[in-house]
């Protein structure tokens, strides 16, 4: 007897009515569940949508009524805020500085981390565990604890207020976590591959470059996204080492404007949208890598 026949026969009988009621009762029970989820989603999404809508409004409109008025005509959308923001002196270069800071800092730290992680994963040496425990500990050390001496160090080597200083600082702060993560990944690769390569006469350089690095690429890809966005979104490191220099990145410039504008700060919504459009695009298009990177980072403080 097919399933179809069962349902038609039941639907005509008393049992059918009961089952429909049951089903209805089950759905009714689930209404609070749906309402709760929708409330959570609304609270987590609406603020962002409201701000994005506001960024397409004229400043007087923003000051006269909330973002929700744009949902009904006349919408009053305009690019005025974007024009105004891009006309602020230094705003366009700051986007460039953000890129000039982020890309090299990501490349530098990940290439050093991969090499270090290989040593910790595939070489035995006295003090290896101790070194590694120190690295695990360093992952949660607040960078506040290091800012003053690093600032003094940069002054001493005449790097203070330059972009390379921020590369180095970010690299230093990011390395413990990256070495930790890559070492765990590398250490999980099958031992036989490395052993047979060794038997074939491949030295460590070959084993690292031909086997370890290509096999670690998935982990490195997730890390690239995680690290890149971390630096792109960073405020504290840039503020400390570039706060008064001419090479301030986007986050620092926006923050400076927000805190210095009394009224009329609302047009800075456009700047915020510009700043977050890159992370959001990465999240939307590379979702799987992004979430993997974030979950892998769950051990990091």
């Amino acid at each position: 007897m097919s399933a179809e026949q069962v349902t038609t026969r039941r639907a005509t009988g008393v049992a059918g009515a009961v089952s429909i009621l049951d089903n209805f009762g089950y759905r009714l029970q689930r209404v609070p569940l749906h309402i709760l989820i929708i409330i959570f989603c609304a609270v987590w999404v609406i603020p962002t949508i409201g701000m994005i809508l506001n960024s397409f409004r004229a400043l007087p409109d923003m000051q006269a009524a909330g973002w929700w008025t744009t949902l009904f005509p006349p919408h009053g959308f305009t690019l005025a805020s974007y024009q105004q923001v891009l006309n602020i002196e230094g705003m366009v270069p700051s986007i460039g500085f953000s890129i000039l800071i982020t890309i090299p800092a990501t490349v530098i730290q990940l290439s050093i981390a991969t090499m270090g992680a290989y040593a910790f994963a595939w070489m035995k040496f006295p003090g290896r565990n101790l070194f590694f425990i120190v690295i695990v500990g360093l992952m949660v050390v607040p960078i506040q604890m290091t800012l003053i001496p690093v600032l003094q160090f940069f002054k001493f080597v005449h790097l203070n207020g330059t972009i390379p200083a921020v590369w180095l600082a970010h690299s230093g702060y990011g390395l413990p976590f990256e070495v930790f993560l890559l070492r765990n990944y590398l250490g999980g690769l099958p031992r036989e591959i490395f052993e047979s390569a060794e038997v074939d006469g491949a030295g460590h350089a070959v084993r690292f470059l031909r086997i370890a690095v290509p096999m670690t690429l998935p982990a490195i890809a997730s890390l690239v996204i995680f690290v890149f966005l971390g630096i792109w979104n960073d405020l504290l490191v840039a503020l400390t080492f570039l706060g008064v220099s001419p090479y301030r990145p986007l986050t620092v410039v926006i923050t400076g404007l927000v805190t210095s504008f009394g009224g009329g700060w609302q047009f800075l919504t456009a700047a915020a949208v510009l700043q977050m459009s890159l992370p959001l695009a990465v999240f939307i298009f590379l979702q799987r890598y992004f979430v993997r990177g974030v979950t892998a980072g769950s051990v990091k403080g």
């Binding site: 989820i37 290439s111 949660v140 604890m145 003053i148 001496p149 700047a271 977050m276 974030v294 979950t295």
Partner: protein, 326 residues
């Protein structure tokens, strides 16, 4: 503010291409030399050679500064003389710094609890509906957004206009619909810390949810089925079966949140800059740093570090346990 100079672009390109090439050269040339050494010396020198760049960076930018900060915290602003515990005394007696300490404790308790709690609740709820993926994307959306952008987003939520004027802030507009007087969320000292902490929770919940959800999926359906057959209702299943099984994950997420709470800087700095008694330890430290009170700033840093030490120990223990299982 200056424009970008060609020099800066060239330096950046050189760094992006050059650093990996230099490391490549370091590895190949170094190995050439090491391979010619006697076996015994090879085994001794090679690991240090490979670990050197990473360990060197960590030493220059983390280990050495850590020690140096402790030293600076016992010295005067100009770093010319020892002044004993004076910087710490200042921290634990001056009203402003005590406020920042209190606020950091508020962050520690409420941010940690609610980020984990909401993460857990949402993970469990969305597990029961068909639109799980979309709901999770919605909750995760604030995670990639920087604290700077999130602060501007929430400035609109908390915006305040005097009573009678049209309310442009979402929350006060809702209050005016309910015929309630508008609240100056970020100025009023009974609401402002809660408001800032909520922004923090908003940015962190998605992270907690994703991790908790991943281990929720790992719970076998047989366990849940057995509980249902034994007559447990959904609430009992969540309370007595799911939550205990998720406990290890909850503690991992919880420790991460505690560390985040103690390090909180961006949201407070951008939204109020510590005004109206919203200072936290990290913003307090930064303002001391900006006023070149290096000794005091270092003392604040040390206090922050000491607060994190227990978690550091927990992290190392957990790592050692994982190592034994490998």
């Amino acid at each position: 503010v200056a424009g970008i100079t060609p020099d800066q672009i060239i330096t950046a390109v050189v760094a992006v291409v050059g650093v990996p090439l230099v490391l490549l050269g370091y590895i190949i040339l170094g190995e050439q030399v090491i391979e010619r050494l006697p076996d015994r010396i090879q085994g001794w020198i090679r690991p240090y050679f490979w670990a050197l760049p990473a360990v060197g960076f960590a030493t220059i930018f983390m280990v050495y500064p850590l020690i140096r900060t402790v030293i600076i915290s016992f010295r005067n602003s100009a770093d010319t003389d020892w002044i004993g515990w004076a910087n710490y005394k200042y921290f634990f007696t001056f009203p402003d710094t005590l406020t920042s300490l209190r606020n950091s404790l508020l962050w520690l308790v409420f941010y940690t609890f609610f980020a984990v709690f909401f993460g857990l609740v949402i993970a469990i709820l969305v597990d029961r509906v068909r639109y799980e993926t979309i709901a999770k994307i919605a909750i995760f959306l604030p995670v990639p957004i920087s604290a700077v952008a999130a602060s501007i987003i929430w400035k609109f939520m908390f915006d305040y206009q005097p009573p009678g004027a049209p309310q442009t802030g979402t929350l006060n507009a809702l209050l005016s619909v309910a015929h309630h007087d508008p609240v100056a969320w970020l100025v009023n000292s009974t609401t402002n810390n809660a408001a800032l902490i909520f922004v923090g929770i908003w940015t962190a919940t998605g992270f907690a949810m994703v991790i908790i959800s991943a281990s929720l999926k790992a719970i076998s359906s047989e366990v849940l089925e057995a509980a249902r057959i034994d007559g447990a209702n959904e609430f009992q299943i969540v309370r007595l079966v799911v939550t205990p099984l998720l406990w290890p994950t909850i503690t991992v997420v919880g420790t991460t949140m505690i560390i985040n709470a103690l390090k909180t800087f961006d949201i407070v700095y951008v939204m109020t800059n510590g005004a109206y008694n919203t200072d936290v330890i990290a913003t307090q430290m930064f303002s001391q740093l900006q006023h070149s009170h290096y000794g005091r700033a270092a003392a604040v840093g040390v206090v922050l570090f000491l607060a994190i030490v227990p978690l550091l120990v927990v992290n190392i223990r957990r790592f050692q346990q994982q190592e034994e299982q490998r």
